[in-house]
């Protein structure tokens, strides 16, 4: 039995070595994804372009602006001097924020009146607008605090702040989005090598008729599937290692948790993904159909529904239910637990069980469909 499995695996590896298109998908695609998600897709908002409409032109407004642009968050683009320019700058996306200081700002400040400073934010990109609004809030708050402090000091009083809010972010102190993305990226890359390549590789044998020759041989379905999957498991593990290494070298993300648990989780995930791939291969008769089925059932859900980018908790409950169709969802929870939080198996054992069940269901479905189709 072992020899037969080995014969299949060796054959598969030899075929793969000559199949440049497949090699490209299997090895180059992950690198491209890593580069895209590592560098191009970035939810961190830096260098927001800001224009200032300063109708007061006082030392107060200069201080305020100085506070904003001394951080790396805001870049001052221009000063403007009339209302029409606000619309033009925002329309043409020359700036993302316009701050408007009222004419009587310094006078009001000196007479201890409330001042209304207006921030006009480009709201097209909701996520960024939200982040920008938080930044300007914080900047304004800190300016007001400073102002109050000086005022009290001048009156000979010490300032008393009842609650000092000091948020500290655990597991990802700088809130780098790449830290959040790496686990999902790993899941997606493994989905490509597991679901897509295994289903294509089995369907290719169907398409070319070589599977008929194997059906007639003493080779059993289990031996066939094991032999087929071993090379892809090896490739998947290599890819996973590449992603982790790149995460460490390029983005400084070290694995916080246990390596053995990481390997275990990855194996269980691969089992689920490969089952899905095998199942697809039993219902598809051409590589084209298999490829599309694999994309629709695995790659897209693992991108959209897995919590990779869009948090599952904020989806409507019907969609939340739908997220269970992708094994990546469970794997991402496991990866985030191990890679970022460094916690033990108690935090994600349920996910392992879900993955196991997922794999079991699909391999059983594959066996049933395969039995039926063989008697046709």
């Amino acid at each position: 039995m072992f020899n037969r499995i080995l014969a299949i695996s060796k054959k598969e590896a030899r075929q793969l070595r000559r199949d440049t298109r497949m090699l490209f998908i299997v090895f180059f695609f992950p690198v491209v994804l890593l580069a895209i998600f590592g560098y191009a897709i970035n939810f961190d908002v830096h260098h927001i372009k800001i224009a200032v409409y300063d109708q007061d032109r006082s030392e107060y407004t200069r201080d305020f602006i100085g506070g904003l642009i001394s951080s790396e968050y805001f870049d001052l683009v221009t000063y403007i001097d009339n209302d029409d320019q606000i619309k033009r700058l925002l329309d043409k996306k020359i700036v993302q924020v316009v701050v408007v200081f009222p004419k009587d700002m310094s006078r009001k400040l000196l007479s201890k009146q409330e001042v209304k400073v207006q921030f006009l934010i480009d709201g097209v990109d909701g996520t960024s607008a939200n982040v920008i609004s938080h930044y300007v809030n914080a900047a304004t708050y800190s300016y007001s605090l400073q102002f109050t402090k000086e005022y009290l000091l001048a009156a000979g009083k010490k300032m008393y702040l009842p609650i000092d809010l000091q948020p500290r972010f655990w597991f990802n102190p700088d809130l780098q989005s790449i830290r959040f993305l790496i686990p999902g990226l790993m899941a997606m890359i493994l989905i490509i090598t597991a679901v897509i390549s295994i289903s294509l590789s089995i369907v290719r044998e169907k398409e070319r008729g070589t599977i008929e020759q194997l059906n007639v041989s003493p080779l059993s379905s289990i031996e066939f599937i094991l032999g087929k999957t071993i090379p892809y498991i090896v490739i998947s593990l290599i890819n996973a290692a590449i992603v982790l290494l790149a995460g460490y070298v390029l983005f400084g993300i070290a694995i916080k948790g246990n390596l053995f648990l990481l390997l275990l989780g990855t194996f269980v995930f691969l089992f689920a993904a490969l089952s899905l791939g095998v199942f697809i291969s039993t219902i598809a008769d051409s590589q084209q159909v298999a490829f599309q089925a694999a994309i629709v059932t695995s790659l897209l859900p693992s991108f959209i529904l897995s919590g990779f980018i869009f948090p599952i908790e904020s989806m409507p409950s019907a969609i939340q239910l739908l997220t269970n169709i992708t094994p990546a969802k469970f794997y991402i929870v496991i990866l985030r637990a191990i890679l970022l939080r460094g916690v033990g198996i108690s935090a994600f054992w349920d996910q392992l069980i879900f993955l196991g069940m997922f794999g079991f269901v699909f391999i059983m479905l594959a066996i049933i469909v395969d039995k039926k189709s063989k008697n046709k």
Partner: protein, 313 residues
């Protein structure tokens, strides 16, 4: 003991019966021809005999093993090669041989010996590192047969092994089949080419899933057509055919290039009547009319048309 024993083998797909109660025996070491039109049920029968399709009813014993109860033992003891040449085109010759040897558990000395044999029968000595896809069809087909019998099975199934191959390669391929049979291997072969059927020791013909004739080629030719057959060579084949078909004494007709074969219903009719009818009455120049012994093709067309008429009624 027979190498293959088929008893009332039946396969239905829903209401459609693809193979209907077929029974026949194949003796050890013989070349057994399995003939029938496309869709007659040949492939379905073979797929049952090689253990990958379960029969609806009936059973068959291949090498003594029941295809119904012991399909895995059947698979271990047979070789199979289909019209599609199931080799991996992206592997080299040696890699293909190694792969199939691995599947059948050959290793060490035995493997080296069989590999040498396969390379020899395929005429591929010193070419083992050539990519299989780049080989010509005839060579590929010999390699496919070689790898299909790499484990030296006693029984080999060949499903239209020569379709789409040039005549010389076909002849070479049949030499190889004869060698196998000479070495004691039982060969069951399906084919479209009736000249190939002449090489077979025994032949069966199936139509619409039913066995309609059985015997060696001599028996088939003499037993199934008792009526005389005339071969007519004329310039206007189609016109002649139309005229002939109107006559009561004409049974079946078929065209072979510019010959017409006519099976007569009335044995008192002879060559003279044909000349009278075509040349004298209709002015068609007839070059030659000759009484012939039937070819296998005549027999099969006769049998299939007869069977189809029965089925329609």
């Amino acid at each position: 003991m027979n190498a293959i024993e088929v008893n009332n083998l039946t396969k239905s797909f829903g209401k459609f019966t693809a193979v209907d109660q077929i029974s026949f025996n194949v003796r050890p070491g013989e070349i057994f021809g399995f003939l029938g039109a496309n869709g007659a049920g040949k492939s379905t029968t073979i797929r049952m005999l090689i253990g990958i399709l379960e029969p609806t009813s009936g059973d068959a014993f291949v090498g003594g093993y029941s295809i119904k109860n012991e399909p895995n033992l059947v698979k271990k003891n047979i070789g199979y090669m289909s019209q599609k040449f199931s080799l991996y085109n992206d592997l080299t010759v040696a890699e293909n041989i190694r792969f199939f040897a691995g599947i059948y558990g050959l290793d060490g000395k035995k493997y080296e010996e069989r590999k040498k044999w396969v390379l020899k029968v395929a005429n591929l000595e010193n070419m083992e590192n050539v990519i299989t896809g780049s080989l010509p069809g005839g060579i590929k087909q010999r390699l496919a047969l070689g790898t299909a019998v790499i484990h030296e099975p006693k029984i080999v199934f060949l499903d239209e092994p020569t379709s789409g191959v040039d005549p010389i390669s076909r002849r070479n391929f049949w030499d190889l089949i004869n060698d196998l049979s000479g070495g004691g291997t039982t060969v069951l072969v399906t084919t479209h080419y009736l000249d190939e059927a002449e090489f077979c020791n025994d032949i069966i013909l199936i139509n619409s899933g039913k066995l309609i004739a059985q015997g060696n080629s001599e028996e088939l030719k003499t037993e199934y057509i008792k009526n005389p057959i005339l071969e007519i060579e004329s310039d206007r084949v189609i016109d002649s055919l139309e005229i002939l078909e109107k006559e009561k004494w004409v049974g079946e007709t078929s065209i072979f290039g510019n010959y017409i074969h006519v099976i007569l219903n009335d044995s008192t009719i002879n060559e003279k009547h044909i000349y009278e009818l075509l040349r004298d009455k209709n002015g068609i120049s007839v070059k030659r009319v000759e009484r012939i012994t039937p070819t296998l093709e005549d027999v099969f067309i006769h049998l299939i048309e007869k069977d189809n008429r029965v089925n329609v009624q």
